[in-house]
């Protein structure tokens, strides 16, 4: 069964603007479910979903699990530690064994770029990429888009600057593709040693100075700076990073307008973002988390073959939609 999104969700680069809009539109009704006392609809009743997490994750794993449970699917969590994966089982064998148990979907988080596609090419089950190496993290990209659209009422013409370690960031790639497809202007700002050498091919504006990015942008999506990058010598120190590239209240106050602040988390307070910005009035960091569950519900629903026009009905708890 081919869904409106295709068999799998591997990234935002292969999606069309219409498909992205569909996910965002479908997320709307699902968002409301999470506001209810009984946060459950029977839409995916009987579906089994495996959350296959080869990398540590709290937020994304829990967000997927809530999405699955609120749609009444049966999720099984597999973490790499303590599983056969740690005993040296290959990814392809893990996949085939899962498939032999007749599952419907796999949500995979893996440290290798392309791992989600590798899995999708080899199994019949639908695959959702929950982050593969430094490639893409499409549901994060979608929830960022939803958060921006909720706030501004549009994406077209919006100026969004992605700040920090773009080189190693799957969040950055998914954001760049998603935002550009939806008509937003995208900037990136960070030390050149943490930008891809080929950044010009991404159709973005590069800002060497965070001050310039702040003058330009409607919103900043501030990426987590991983400690390993400093240890690997990409930047000399976290202290200098904060002083040169950090998003601080002082810098934001010099902006011509209020700037919306996003962060995919987990945050390094005092490194890429100062606490008074993260907790400030223009931060939508917790809205992103809320939207994450809704966007993932929408993705699971659409991949399962749910019809977009029935999402409202599904919300009504009638159990229609999938396979209807």
């Amino acid at each position: 069964m081919s869904s409106a999104l295709g068999k799998d969700l591997l990234g935002l680069e292969p999606l069309t603007a219409a498909q992205i809009k569909l996910v965002l539109d479908t997320a709307g009704p699902f968002k409301e479910i999470s506001e209810r006392a009984i946060k459950k609809v029977p839409t995916l009743r009987g579906s089994t979903i495996v959350n296959l997490f080869f990398e540590a994750s709290t937020r994304t794993r829990i967000s997927f699990e809530f999405a699955e449970k609120r749609l009444s699917a049966d999720p099984v969590n597999v973490a790499s530690s303590g599983s056969s994966v740690q005993k040296g089982e290959t990814l392809v064998d893990t996949a085939r064994n899962l498939e032999a148990m007749r599952i419907d979907m796999v949500v995979i988080r893996h440290g290798a770029s392309g791992a989600a596609q590798f899995l999708a090419d080899r199994i019949e089950s639908k695959v959702v990429n929950a982050g593969d190496g430094t490639h893409e993290h499409p549901t994060q990209g979608l929830l960022d888009l939803l958060t921006l659209r909720d706030h501004f009422g549009r994406l077209d013409g919006l100026r969004v600057c992605i700040c920090g370690d773009v080189l190693h960031s799957r969040v950055a790639r998914s954001n760049i593709w998603g935002l550009r497809k939806m008509g937003a202007e995208v900037g990136v700002c960070g030390p050149r040693s943490l930008l891809p050498n080929a950044i010009d091919a991404f159709g973005v504006t590069v800002f060497d100075h965070i001050e310039d990015a702040i003058q330009w942008a409607d919103a900043l999506n501030v990426l987590r700076l991983q400690l390993e990058r400093m240890q690997a010598g990409y930047i000399p120190s976290l202290r200098e990073y904060n002083r040169v590239f950090g998003v601080s209240r002082e810098r934001l106050e010099r902006a011509p307008k209020d700037i919306l602040i996003l962060h995919p988390g987990p945050m390094n307070r005092g490194v890429e973002i100062d606490s008074d910005v993260a907790d400030g009035p223009h931060s939508v960091i917790l809205d992103q988390v809320t939207n994450g569950v809704a966007v993932r519900m929408a993705v699971l629903y659409l991949l399962a073959g749910g019809r977009p026009d029935l999402a409202e009905a599904a919300k009504g708890g009638e159990g229609r939609g999938v396979g209807a």
């Binding site: 290959t90 770029s113 430094t134 893409e136 790639r173 080929a198």
Partner: protein, 438 residues
């Protein structure tokens, strides 16, 4: 047949092309007792005499000196499940190669005279393409201490190389070039500046940035290429640059050759035919080191093969087990098999588009490699060992790795229809491979 009777083989009516003697004619090639006896438009042999010969009809085929591959990995000793010297030598014969040079990155490393002798003996037993061992530059290929070149060469090594790894230490490379000069063999270097290439899985560029794979910049190769060229200038030693992959390297080699520096270079069929775009979809059969580069690099390499800046085409045949390639891209090993597709890839991407004519292709695949590595073969001169390849330069066939004689199946051309098909391969006048049908 009595033991004393001479064996005569007649390759009849082919287009005999031997760039080593500027020969290109339609006629017969007569082999007597394993050596080339005569080439002529009609050797005065009447049809009724043909019973005295083993005759191979070569009408419509090209008859050429056998191909010589100066760079392949036969995996024995150590990884016999992936390839053995016997299966590699038979795969070579199927690809029209009459001689191959086996790189020493085996387990244990071919870094001493006994190990060289082993490779040589296994090659003789294979009774297929000739196998010439290459000895390691450093003990264990650890890049620390020179291996015993003199003894390895006396035992049959034809060159020294740490291929698979660069010689990172410049002083050591300098000494290797000087020391190898004493024995008249080339030092074949895998040009890769290790700190720049570290952790890289493909060419650094737009595709690597999009796919989120760590890139290997062209400069990782070019920095070592120019270092080696300058050390060859300093020492007078012969440096042979393996598997060149970038436009910059071509320009540096050209610079060196214009100054009379003793540098030769090779390119692989995959680098003149494929670009980094083949990695899309994370296809591990497009993963090799050096990586597939850009269309601009491919164009520069094709031009360099044509004008002679690149001397030879070598396969870098690198078989891997199916399981090793069936995994996440970053973790998959580098390399593809190439012996059985080299001719067809070269014909399809160099000859058909008119970049090389057939004599030029044969020069790059046979004459030049034999000459540069001072190997027998690469010629059909009278009295030379009759190492001959007969091939159909236009026949189309579809690559099916399951039919390879190599144990390796990792080919980026699987399922593609290519042109140029080996019909027969002879070593010392004996047929070691024949393809009956495509």
């Amino acid at each position: 047949m009595s033991a004393a009777a001479p064996t005569r083989v007649l390759l009849r009516g082919g287009r005999v092309v031997d760039p080593s003697q500027r020969l290109d004619l339609v006629g017969d090639l007569l082999i007597v007792d394993g050596k080339v006896e005569a080439i002529g438009e009609r050797l005065g042999i009447e049809r009724d005499q043909e019973g005295a010969f083993e005759t191979i009809d070569c009408a419509g085929q090209v008859v050429a000196p056998g191909f010589v591959d100066v760079h392949c990995h036969l995996r024995e000793p150590g990884r016999e499940e992936v390839e053995t010297i016997a299966t590699g030598a038979r795969a070579a014969a199927a690809g029209g190669f009459t001689a191959v040079c086996a790189m020493p990155n085996t387990d244990p490393v071919t870094d001493n005279q006994a190990a060289v002798g082993f490779v040589l003996r296994q090659g003789q037993r294979a009774n297929a393409a000739r196998v010439h061992p290459i000895g390691a530059i450093t003990i264990g290929q650890r890049g620390e201490k020179l291996a015993e070149f003199g003894e390895m060469i006396a035992a049959g090594a034809v060159a020294v190389s740490d291929d698979g790894k660069p010689v990172a230490n410049a002083q050591l490379m300098r000494t290797a070039l000087e020391y190898a000069r004493s024995f008249g063999v080339p030092v074949a270097d895998h040009c890769e500046e290790p700190t720049l290439a570290h952790g890289g899985a493909m060419n650094e560029g737009v595709v690597s940035a999009r796919l989120g794979l760590k890139g290997i910049p062209a400069e990782a190769e070019e920095i070592m290429a120019i270092r080696d060229i300058l050390l060859a200038r300093r020492t007078g030693g012969h440096v042979h640059l393996c598997h060149m992959s970038t436009r910059g390297s071509v320009e540096l080699i050209r610079w060196g050759k214009e100054r009379g520096i003793n540098v030769t270079a090779e390119v692989c069929p995959h680098h003149i035919s494929l670009t980094e775009a083949a990695v899309e979809g994370y296809d591990t059969n497009a993963k090799m080191n050096p990586p597939l580069r850009t269309a601009d690099d491919v164009e520069a390499l094709q031009q360099a093969v044509r004008d002679g800046t690149i001397d030879v085409i070598a396969t870098d045949h690198a078989p891997h087990h199916y399981d090793e390639k069936e995994r996440e891209f970053a973790d998959a090993p580098n390399g593809i098999v190439g012996l059985e597709t080299a001719l067809a890839v070269n014909v399809t991407w160099l000859v058909k588009p008119g970049i090389l004519d057939l004599p030029q292709l044969i020069e790059r695949m046979s004459c030049a490699p034999a000459r540069i590595f001072r190997l027998p073969g690469g010629t059909l001169r009278r009295g030379a060992a009759a190492d001959v390849t007969v091939f159909d330069p236009t026949a189309a066939w579809t690559v099916d790795p399951r039919r390879f004689l190599s144990k390796g199946r990792n080919s980026p051309w699987a399922g593609q229809t290519l042109h140029g098909l080996v019909r027969a391969t002879l070593v010392d006048g004996r047929v070691i491979h024949r393809t009956e049908s495509a």
